[in-house]
């Protein structure tokens, strides 16, 4: 039997979300832009989903734009800003962002937009002092992720957004790992743009959204008038409906899920601590995503451990990979300044709401055994 512990990569589709999607795949498959009555159910379903999603992050429905996922949302936020900024203002981001952000930033640098990449501390935190040192009135956009996808550290978004605004800059956050897992209130946090992806919170793949305040961005996809004329293309109605159901359910159950995941994480860590395995828990010790356990084991190969766990039917991911010639440590692990003899031995166990105590014990026991080889 497979033990799935890679929930930061993707999550199991929630059965309620799946049930809600089915009628829009089989019965009400009309194009929501159709002028006939048959399109009405699809049109209304999109409207209801937009309202639900907006409520989940305390936004207005017209500030929610459906996209194909987190990557598209990130690309839109960064490149959309660059395309609509004729003053070539600077973008500031962090060194540990997801590649959807980093590669978008490298792209706009080619268009002559200056970009600064903020260093992080040993826990993966973007310090407010660091942003204060880099920011100026020539900064147009600050983009810092809500929580890191590898090490789970939750960033001080509210404080960073305040600094951005005090210099007249916009604030975007890649909240792909956070939405549906920790409370997000865009008004309280002062967020101008936010990226999210449904399959990270038990929704379907291929759908996500960008929250964006009015007048901030230009259309990214050109074509029809869907998404208030901002993102052309026929809407993926079943996926939009499934995303809304999954997000609402995760928000309702958030506290209970977080408690369950923290208990499982503590259990796993306490078993490892009681063993002789020399390991470091990466990321912030307390202010981290529930269920994220990023470990670096001294003198071991993270990639090797991942493959051996795979042979045992356990799915985790690694912070290092072989590119056929060399072992490469991920940019996140490199940037938190981990000692070399630990960095290569990094694996990420990301537990989800469906994981059990029995599974966690099995993961820990097998990991201890494999670490002794």
């Amino acid at each position: 039997m497979v033990i799935y512990a890679d929930n930061a990569a993707t999550t199991q589709l929630d059965t309620d979300a799946f049930e809600a999607m089915k009628p829009f795949l089989l019965e009400n498959y009309a194009n929501p832009s159709g002028a006939y009555s048959y399109s009405k159910k699809a049109k209304l379903a999109i409207k209801a989903a937009r309202k639900t999603i907006a409520e989940c992050i305390n936004a207005e429905p017209e500030q929610i734009y459906f996209t194909s996922g987190g990557t598209e949302s990130d690309n839109w936020a960064i490149k959309g800003f660059a395309l609509s900024d004729y003053d070539y203002k600077a973008v500031i981001t962090s060194q540990i962002e997801h590649h959807a952000i980093l590669n978008s930033c490298y792209d706009i640098e080619r268009l002559k937009h200056p970009v600064a990449y903020l260093p992080v501390d040993r826990k993966g935190v973007v310090a407010t002092d660091t942003l204060n040192r880099y920011i100026s009135d020539r900064t147009g956009l600050v983009s810092v992720m809500t929580a890191n996808n590898e090490i789970g550290t939750i960033e001080p978004i509210k404080e960073l957004a305040q600094i951005a605004h005090s210099h007249g800059a916009l604030f975007h956050t890649d909240a792909v790992q956070a939405v549906g897992h920790i409370p997000i209130d865009v008004k309280v946090l002062g967020i101008d743009m936010l990226s999210a992806s449904a399959h990270k919170f038990n929704g379907p793949k291929g759908i996500g959204f960008l929250y964006c305040k009015e007048g901030v961005l230009q259309p990214f996809h050109n074509g029809g008038s869907q998404e208030f004329g901002m993102r052309a293309g026929t809407e993926n109605v079943p996926a939009i409906v499934g995303m809304a159901v999954a997000l609402r359910k995760n928000i309702i159950e958030m506290e209970q899920n977080a408690k369950h995941l923290r208990r499982l994480s503590e259990e796993l860590l306490s078993i490892l601590e009681a063993s002789n395995v020399p390991f470091i828990l990466n990321g912030h010790p307390t202010n981290r995503l529930p269920g994220n356990i990023n470990l670096s084991i001294k003198g071991k190969s993270g990639e090797g451990l991942m493959h051996m766990l795979d042979l045992k039917g356990i799915c985790v991911s690694t912070g290092s990979a072989c590119d056929s010639k060399n072992q490469q440590v991920s940019h996140v692990i490199q940037n938190i300044g981990l000692p070399d003899d630990y960095g290569i031995g990094t694996i990420r166990i990301s537990l989800g709401k469906y994981n059990t105590e029995q599974e966690v014990k099995r993961i820990a026991d097998i990991l201890i055994k494999l670490s002794s080889l």
Binding site: G299, K300, S301, E303, G304, H307, L311, C322, S324, L373
Partner: protein
């Protein structure tokens, strides 16, 4: 890739481990390992089937992993 002279299987003493046996030890246990297992003993210590390990070896070769060259 550094050249590795594999020791005999640490478990059964089998000598002259094949290129694939050396490669899979380096890949799974780590490139600095000094302990090598033959295919049967590696399967036994991991408590998996020999075929599962052979499948992994094929996967790595298809990905172009130089440890198996």
């Amino acid at each position: 890739m550094k050249k590795v002279k594999a020791s005999p299987c640490i478990s059964c003493g089998k000598k002259d481990l094949s290129k694939d046996e050396v490669g899979i030890n380096l890949k799974l246990i780590g490139e600095d390992t000094e302990n090598f297992y033959c295919l049967d003993c590696l399967a036994s210590v991991l408590d998996v089937g020999v075929q599962d390990i052979l499948d992994k070896i094929e996967e790595f070769k298809e990905e172009g992993c130089t440890l198996f060259l």
